[in-house]
């Protein structure tokens, strides 16, 4: 993976985001949301830039980023695959779906395929319990899954 190089344009974007929240430390989580929305993830130089704008210790920002599972410091795949691990999905076999995905994509949970196309993560309940077990690829929800259906679903995105 190439290292994220921050340029002046990035810095301007971050500055604008921080300013839109009044450069307030108490708005850090909103700022991180917005920044991640823009960059797709929160690499080190981006966090440093936020620290400079908010005039707060970088360690504290990293402390927040590393606390919340929504924030990530690694870029996701073009099609992020998320498996719902809510209880309803669990009792209806979400673990087997994870296994099938790991096998199909040849990556472990948390990983990204070599071509950067897919990344695989687990998430908490997405609230589509009626369709359990459920996965999300990008914004699309696929429900009532069985392990053998995974291959065809992934194929659609290739």
């Amino acid at each position: 993976m190439t290292k994220f190089e921050i340029n002046d344009c990035h810095k301007k974007t971050i500055k604008e985001i921080c300013e839109s929240f009044g450069n307030k430390r108490s708005e850090l989580i909103n700022i991180l949301h917005k920044t991640q929305g823009h960059f797709g993830y929160l690499p080190e130089p981006v966090q440093l830039e936020i620290a400079l704008n908010l005039n707060m210790p970088l360690a504290k920002i990293y402390g927040v980023v590393s606390f919340y599972s929504f924030f990530t410091m690694t870029p996701k795949g073009k099609f992020p695959v998320s498996v719902c691990m809510g209880t309803a999905c669990y009792v209806r076999g979400a673990e087997k779906i994870v296994e099938a995905l790991e096998k199909e994509l040849k990556i472990k949970v948390g990983g990204v395929t070599q071509d950067g196309k897919f990344s695989l993560d687990c998430l908490r309940c997405i609230g589509a319990c009626g369709l359990a077990p459920v996965i999300m690829i990008g914004e699309e929800v696929h429900g009532r899954l069985e392990p053998q259906m995974i291959k065809d679903i992934i194929k659609k995105y290739e």
């Binding site: 307030k24 430390r25 108490s26 708005e27 850090l28 989580i29 909103n30 991180l32 949301h33 402390g63 927040v64 606390f67 919340y68 599972s69 929504f70 924030f71 691990m85 809510g86 209880t87 309803a88 669990y90 009792v91 209806r92 998430l123 908490r124 309940c125 997405i126 609230g127 589509a128 319990c129 009626g130 369709l131 359990a132 459920v134 699309e140 929800v141 429900g143």
Partner: protein, 595 residues
């Protein structure tokens, strides 16, 4: 004037199955048949019957179409709207007698329900404030700010007996009263919409289906406690709820229902959204407040309670979505009406997210005091695939597992605690004979270990140790001593953890230890898993009478533990077998036995 309306669920679940396309197709079809004057398509919030989504409900005859596909739209219009013939193949089928049910009023799923918090979900268009107003929306707020003093209003909430729906069931009126007594230049009303229990989604449904009820209730609360600012802490994973809430706030502002001098009174109130970022512990109010302040969502020692020192060290009242959703109704119908529903100490209704091995998965709202049996068999339509009921888990990771013995216990805050579980936010997961209770306990602990904030020792390390013991047990390596350690750890974690999450985290373990001790013992002593879920303990053998010698098992075995000649019965070498279960999955003749 429309003679008919087609209500299409646009909750997250149904949208996932293309309900938006259904709306499109229905509209196209109505247009094609020149019925746009007669019938109207309305997108609503969740009907709760997620199992069979997407749902299209036709009114006024309450026809309830389930699992509708976009291509069914044409038939619904031509048959039902045009010719008045219901499309029977899309009607809900009774799981027992396989009969089609003609309308929702005849569905067991709805018959036992009483919808207060969900009163508008599936009825109104959540993106149109007018529809909320027609359903008496904002009348409660008008009444409160123009006719009542804050004390009077708080008294009504107290009289209603409403208790917090987020978990512990603290009396809402009392909470408001305490916050109202602290004087400060600024106070805050916070709505906890960081619903995190895996398998619970009632808050999301309310926000998606009836966002205005939350705005109204928060404004009422603001008037009562003397706050002019409301904050909704909402999960970032709920984009639709966020969007609908933003629309509703915008519309309320345009009508002047938020802003300065509401209803011409001296009371002013406005709202903002704060996003959660994926931390279950932020459901705990002090952690939630820390998170809203831009910090790590770690709980702190109470007192001081948020009522005294909360968001930005100002007095803060935190209630969850469902609690707020009840508030306007209390004022509309009166506290006496409200307190007549439910049990002695738990008034009103409770929304449960019914899931698991049950026929009718979905969101239900029932009066407190209903029994589990009524919920599971009458509303839920019984256990899926005719299996045997084993347990029901309530309260999410903080709750416990209830058994057959509890089926006839009236459910309320206190009876659930007495039974070793808790109301929690209202997740209700049904398990059948195929579920291993040790694995279920392990599942919840995995969740807790993942979600523990790491601040206090018992939760940070203790839960990890409990999980390790459970892993040991499910791998067939446990000892009876481990069970003692497990129990001691569970009690100490419960007794010493800093916040509610930690204090309740051992509940799944304790309640399964209590109710399914023999299952633990079987894992430990006999190395057996009744439900055959613990792979490490399964013994796979081939039934020579059934085996055709097709060799598919031998070819797929990753460790070459299966041998045999073509067209001859095969054999599994137990000393090599790793219990992976591939042979069992691959065999087309059911020749593999699992013990």
């Amino acid at each position: 004037m429309y003679k008919m309306q087609l209500l299409v669920c646009s909750g997250t679940g149904c949208r996932a199955s293309a309900s938006a396309t259904i709306v499109e197709k229905l509209n196209e079809s109505l247009k094609a048949h020149q019925l746009t004057e007669e019938a109207q398509v309305v997108t609503t919030g969740c009907f709760g019957f997620c199992e069979k989504g997407p749902i299209v409900k036709v009114i006024p005859d309450n026809t309830f179409y389930t699992q509708v596909k976009p291509e069914d739209a044409e038939e619904i219009v031509t048959e039902h709207i045009l010719k008045g013939r219901k499309v029977s193949r899309l009607l809900y089928e009774d799981p027992e007698n396989k009969e089609h049910i003609i309308d929702s009023k005849h569905m067991g799923f709805y018959q036992k329900q009483m919808r207060i918090a969900l009163r508008n979900c599936g009825v109104i268009d959540p993106e149109n404030i007018d529809e909320y107003i027609v359903r008496d929306g904002y009348s409660a707020l008008a009444q409160v700010v123009t006719d009542l003093t804050p004390e009077q209003a708080i008294d009504m909430v107290k009289q209603s007996g409403l208790r917090g729906r987020g978990g512990a069931g603290f009396p809402t009126g009392l909470k408001w009263e305490i916050t109202s007594k602290f004087s400060s230049d600024q106070k805050y009303v916070v709505c906890n919409a960081d619903e995190g229990d895996p398998g619970a989604f009632m808050d999301r449904s309310i926000l998606e289906g009836d966002p205005n009820s939350i705005i109204e209730a928060m404004a009422i609360c603001g008037y009562c406690i003397g706050a002019t600012k409301g904050l909704v802490y909402i999960r970032a994973e709920y984009p639709l709820a966020i969007k609908r809430l933003e629309i509703a706030i915008g519309q309320a502002r345009e009508y002047g229902l938020l802003g300065n001098n509401i209803f011409g009174s001296k009371f002013s109130f406005d709202m903002e959204l704060r996003y959660g970022a994926g931390a279950f512990v932020c459901g705990e109010e002090t952690a939630l407040i820390a998170s809203m302040e831009g910090k790590r969502g770690e709980p702190r020692v109470k007192p001081p309670f948020p009522a005294e020192s909360g968001y930005m060290h100002k007095p803060t009242n935190v209630n969850n979505v469902e609690t707020f959703a009840n508030v306007p109704v209390i004022f509309l119908k009166g506290p006496e009406w409200y307190s007549a529903i439910g049990t002695e100490k738990s008034k009103g209704t409770k929304v449960f997210a019914l899931a698991g091995k049950i026929n009718n998965v979905g969101l239900i709202e029932v009066p407190m005091g209903i029994t589990l049996r009524e919920i599971i068999y009458e509303i839920g339509g019984g256990i899926k695939n005719g299996k045997n009921f084993k347990a029901v888990q309530t309260g999410g990771p903080s709750g416990g597992c209830l058994t057959e013995a509890h089926l006839d216990t009236p459910i309320d805050f206190d009876s659930l605690v007495a039974a070793g579980s808790m109301m929690g936010s209202g997740g209700m997961i049904v398990m059948d004979e195929d579920d291993c209770m040790v694995s279920i306990a392990k599942f919840y602990l995995e969740f807790i270990v993942e979600e523990s904030c790491g601040k206090c020792t018992p939760c940070r390390i203790g839960n990890k140790r409990m999980l390790e013991i459970l892993e040991k047990i499910t791998q067939g390596k446990g000892s009876m001593e481990d069970l003692d350690h497990l129990r001691n750890l569970a009690y100490v974690i419960k007794d010493t953890s800093l916040c509610g999450l930690g204090q309740s985290s051992p509940n799944p373990v304790l309640s399964t230890l209590e109710n399914f001790y023999d299952e633990y013992v079987a894992h430990v002593k006999d190395k057996r898993c009744f439900a055959k879920q613990c792979k490490a303990m399964a013994k796979y053998t081939i039934n020579p009478d059934v085996c055709t010698g097709c060799t598919i098992c031998a070819r797929n075995c990753p460790v070459d533990a299966i041998t045999g000649e073509k067209r001859e019965p095969h054999f599994i070498h137990q000393e090599i077998c790793t219990h992976c279960g591939v042979c069992y999955q691959k065999c087309k003749f059911n020749a593999i036995n699992v013990e």
